[in-house]
């Protein structure tokens, strides 16, 4: 049991290594990718009982010395994020089987996906900011390689922008790290934090805000996101939007609740700054998403808006708000994963990338567009779909904090969500096909490879399924974690 955090990180890495060294047939590559990812997911899911019991899993065995050691340990927050992440990776690998069937460099692609899974689990499964930083950097390099997978000019330039911005984010985190270590002599996590207020601590906090905020796609550091996410292959886009930007939010939760004391944050009005940035992120992301005709770019800007909700929940500094933020991590991972999977399916089946081309596409790809509709309804926040609960808690926490205007922010943002998602759905099913967009009648409906179809549909169903299961256990877990912090 105590080795599960280590296993969940090392198994995909090991699988990637074996794959690079000895797999040459496509079937073997796929099987190994599936196996590595599934075992890692199983290891993460196997830790759920520990989360429910409030245990911290892990050993005191230190690895590496650069000169800091990393320890593989998982507490509630780690396990919550790890289960979501590893599940999304697992589905993305299944989805890739058909998405990548005509792609190039498959060995590299699957190996990189496995390494990325290992890195993202490493971010959450290590018990200090050191491990977080180490795996952040690994994740940055690997996601760069995934973003440029197509190797065309668009992908290369988007990738370069992403890489250099994320390297700067790494440097900001490095600065925060070294200052924290200098002030406190430690970098591990402790509920309530241990770094007291000082000018240097304030500087380090803002360095962390820059570093984690950039990874999360927070305004005004979001500018890499709308290029990098659409340029990547669709499963990678789903992971970038669904999982990787959440690591920034995870980092902020750790810094704010486990490393720095509330006094240190109050001294620089940290939560206020984060709050305003979160509000700006929400509005800006939604406003920009409205303008995009390119479907994946619209989804990418929508991710900016949605990460704004998570940051808002973190910034409000209350138990209920954090619960809402954590739950939104869960619900956004599922719904944005679904949406990118749908976009990928549309592109592979019809080569259509622009929203204006999608009229009537629901008649050709019904299951895909039903899934899209389900995710769209979820993202707008209609009960009983997942995101409704996160917005509910965020709104309640805003009121409790005496910030009634934030409720208006949430409402307006939901409205904007509706404005840029519903027309796609409505047009897809009821739109008149323009002459040049006419779909041939020779195609059977949803002639889509099965792995793509199933993974999309499953993810879409999960957007609503939990509402009908009592107790609503993802929400319950989020509540326990939040209660443990405050």
């Amino acid at each position: 049991m105590e080795y599960l955090p280590l296993f969940s990180v090392t198994i995909p890495l090991l699988a990637a290594g074996i794959m690079l060294l000895c797999c040459r047939s496509e079937l073997a590559i796929k099987l190994l990718a599936l196996l590595g990812s599934a075992l890692s997911f199983a290891a993460s899911a196997g830790m759920l009982p520990a989360l429910a019991a409030g245990q911290i899993l892990g050993t005191r065995q230190g690895y590496l010395s650069f000169p800091l050691h990393i320890y593989f340990q998982a507490d509630g927050v780690s396990i919550f994020f790890a289960v979501i992440f590893s599940f999304c990776f697992f589905l993305a690998i299944i989805y890739s089987f058909s998405y990548m069937s005509h792609g190039h460099a498959k060995l590299r692609y699957y190996a990189l996906l496995l390494v990325a899974q290992s890195a993202i689990l490493g971010v959450v499964m290590t018990s200090s900011l050191v491990g977080l930083f180490l795996f952040f950097e690994l994740l940055a390099v690997v996601s760069y390689l995934l973003v440029i997978h197509e190797e065309d000019a668009v992908a290369m330039s988007a990738g370069a922008k992403y890489l250099f911005m994320t390297i700067v984010a790494g440097f900001a985190i490095f600065f925060g790290l070294v200052v924290t270590y200098f002030l406190a002599g430690r970098l591990d996590y402790q509920v309530g934090g241990y770094v007291a207020a000082s000018p240097l601590a304030g500087a380090a906090l803002f360095a962390f805000l820059i570093g984690c905020g950039l990874k999360a796609g927070m305004f005004p550091l979001h500018i890499w996101l709308a290029d990098a996410h659409p340029a990547a292959p669709a499963p990678v886009s789903a992971l970038l939007s669904g999982c990787m930007i959440k690591t920034g939010a995870y980092g902020l939760i750790r810094v704010m609740h486990y490393v720095y004391t509330p006094q240190a944050m109050q001294a620089v009005s940290y939560d206020q700054v984060l709050l305003w940035l979160a509000v700006a992120t929400i509005f800006l992301g939604s406003a920009l998403a409205l303008q995009q005709d390119h479907l994946k770019r619209r989804l990418a800007y929508s991710s900016v808006a949605q990460i704004g909700y998570v940051l808002l929940g973190i910034a409000l500094m209350s138990e209920q708000a954090l619960q809402g933020a954590l739950f939104h991590v869960f619900s956004h991972a599922l719904m944005k994963g679904t949406l990118f999977f749908c976009a990928g399916a549309i592109v592979t089946q019809t080569r259509k990338q622009y929203v204006s081309q999608l009229q009537g596409i629901g008649r050709q790809l019904p299951v895909i567009m039903y899934s899209f509709a389900l995710a769209a309804v979820t993202i707008v926040g209609i009960p009983p779909f997942n995101a409704f609960f996160s917005k509910w808690h965020l709104a309640a926490a805003s009121l409790a904090a005496g910030q009634g205007s934030l409720v208006a922010v949430l409402v307006i943002s939901s409205l904007l969500n509706a404005l840029y998602y519903f027309p796609i759905v409505v047009n897809a099913f009821f739109g008149n096909e323009a002459e040049e967009n006419k779909f041939g009648t020779d195609r059977l409906p949803d002639e889509i490879p099965r792995s793509m179809l199933w993974s999309t549909a499953l993810l879409a169903l999960l957007c609503v399924l939990f509402a009908f299961v009592q107790p609503h256990w993802p929400m319950e877990l989020a509540r326990r974690i939040a209660a443990g912090i405050f």
Binding site: Q61, G62, S65, A105, F175, V178, L200
Partner: protein, 488 residues
């Protein structure tokens, strides 16, 4: 520092290398034999010095003086720093010698190999010398011998680069000579003394800056750096590796000795010299990084990058505190392994394909996959990604800057790291990826390098990361002990 027990190891190691140099010369052009001889001599010297470890590891400072060089005799000193550095040099020299054994030098192999081994002997002598004059002797011989390597190709540019180098070297030795004379008159002693032995008399400043000029020139410190790019551009790449990994480090080593064991930290900080050195170090870091960024020739880019990296060491020395000193000393190893890998890879590329312009290197990874894999690891190391060596250096230098109450200095290090990323990573990524490279995947061939060259690159590349992989970073522990010994 009183005279310890009789030690023979430093003399034996240097003597062995000098004798081997003579033998290599006498063997003539029989290439294989002289390569084996070189490797055996380096390994032998390494083994001899390694036997000193039980004593120096316990913190002892062993000295041996011979009354052969007036006024104070010729002395060797073995302490933890000098033995560790000598071992590092000998190991690196062994790797480079292995590489040279298979490197296509085309002509005058005897001269090249003799000069190489002679430089190795002198570089070991520099770090094992026990006083200013003995060090001077080795330092001069080493510096002058290097011109034989720069001029190897005998082109017009090579000759020009050689002249540049020689004039600077001679200028540096003049500075050293004047400084030595002042020290002799003022202190009547040359031997390393903990805490320094110079007093703050009127000419001390001249002596200090004389030494700094001599050593700074070797370490590529601004404004004495301009021999570097020309020399790296013309010398065969293994010679550039020798310079980056070993010779430039002797300059930094000399600075450390001057600061700590001749003038003393108290005097440095009282006179404000440490601030000046710090400013020079920052200039060196930024100027080197910018020049490297602007440079289009691979070898010249690596030259400017070496200069910037040596700036890290000067930065660590100038901050005068424990953490910074650990960072600076550890960079001897970190930079040696990183830049050694890169220069050996560059040599492999140049010798195999004749390509030197960075723009021509697109797609090279599909022709020389192993070479580019090593280069990529070194490039990521240079950016300072954990867990590779340079991260450790940046970590301690940053802690040092914080201890000195100068958190903003960290931004200089980060700016330099960003420039490192900007001038190394595009080489790496264009070598592997890009629309024009997609068709090359299928035509992947292995490097087809002679095995000693491959092994050399792999050894250095492994050195970039291997020490951080275990739960205890042995070289770092050693470095900490050296720094402790220097400061307390």
């Amino acid at each position: 520092m009183e005279a310890g027990v009789f030690i023979w190891q430093p003399q034996a190691a240097v003597g062995l290398l000098l004798v081997a140099t003579l033998l290599v010369w006498l063997r003539g052009e029989k290439a294989r034999g002289s390569s084996c001889l070189t490797l055996f001599a380096l390994a032998g010297a390494f083994t001899i010095l390694a036997t000193l470890f039980p004593w120096v590891g316990a913190g002892e400072i062993l000295r041996q003086t011979y009354p052969i060089l007036p006024p104070f005799g010729f002395s060797f000193q073995a302490d933890l720093l000098s033995v560790s550095l000598a071992l590092l040099f000998l190991f690196s020299g062994f790797v480079i010698a292995l590489y040279i054994a298979a490197y296509p030098l085309k002509h005058d192999e005897r001269r090249f190999k003799t000069a190489f081994l002679f430089i190795m002997a002198c570089a070991s002598g520099v770090v094992l010398a026990g006083d200013l004059l003995s060090l001077f002797l080795f330092f001069e011989a080493m510096s002058l011998a290097f011109f034989l390597l720069i001029i190897h190709n005998r082109t017009r540019e090579a000759v020009a680069a050689t002249y540049k180098f020689i004039y600077l070297t001679v200028g540096g030795s003049m500075c050293y000579f004047i400084a030595l004379a002042i020290v002799f008159v003022q202190a009547n002693s040359f031997a390393w003394t903990a805490g320094g032995f110079m007093s703050a008399a009127s000419l001390s400043a001249l002596a200090f800056w004389g030494f700094v000029a001599a050593f700074g020139m070797k370490a590529g410190m601004v404004p004495l750096h301009f021999w570097l790019a020309a020399a790296y551009g013309q010398a065969p790449p293994p010679a550039a590796a020798l310079s980056s990994v070993i010779m430039m480090k002797t300059g930094a080593y000399g600075m450390a000795r001057i600061f700590h064991h001749v003038f003393g930290l108290e005097m440095l900080s009282r006179q404000g010299w440490d601030i000046l050195i710090l400013i020079l170090a920052l200039f060196t870091i930024l100027y080197g990084s910018f020049c490297a960024f602007a440079e289009r020739d691979l070898l010249r880019r690596l030259a400017y990058s070496s200069m910037a990296q040596l700036g890290y060491i000067l930065f660590g020395l100038a901050l005068l505190n424990y953490a910074a000193l650990v960072g600076g000393f550890f960079h001897f190893l970190a930079h040696g392994m990183m830049k050694g890998t890169m220069l050996l890879c560059a040599g492999a590329i140049v010798s195999k394909t004749g390509k030197r312009k960075i723009a021509d290197l697109a797609g090279i990874a599909w022709q020389m996959p192993l070479t580019m894999a090593c280069f990529s690891l070194a490039a990521l190391t240079a950016v300072g990604l954990p867990p590779m060596n340079v991260f450790v250096v940046k970590w301690y230098l940053s802690l040092g800057a914080l201890s000195a109450g100068q958190p903003l200095l960290i931004l200089f290090l980060l700016a330099s790291s960003l420039l490192n990323a900007a001038y190394y990573l595009p080489i790496v990524f264009r070598a592997y990826f890009g629309a024009e490279n997609r068709d090359l995947h299928a035509s992947l061939v292995w490097d087809r390098l002679p095995w000693p060259m491959t092994v050399g690159m792999l050894l250095f590349a492994a050195g970039c990361i291997v020490f951080s992989l275990g739960p205890v970073n042995l070289p770092l522990e050693l470095t900490k002990r050296i720094a402790t010994g220097f400061l307390y």
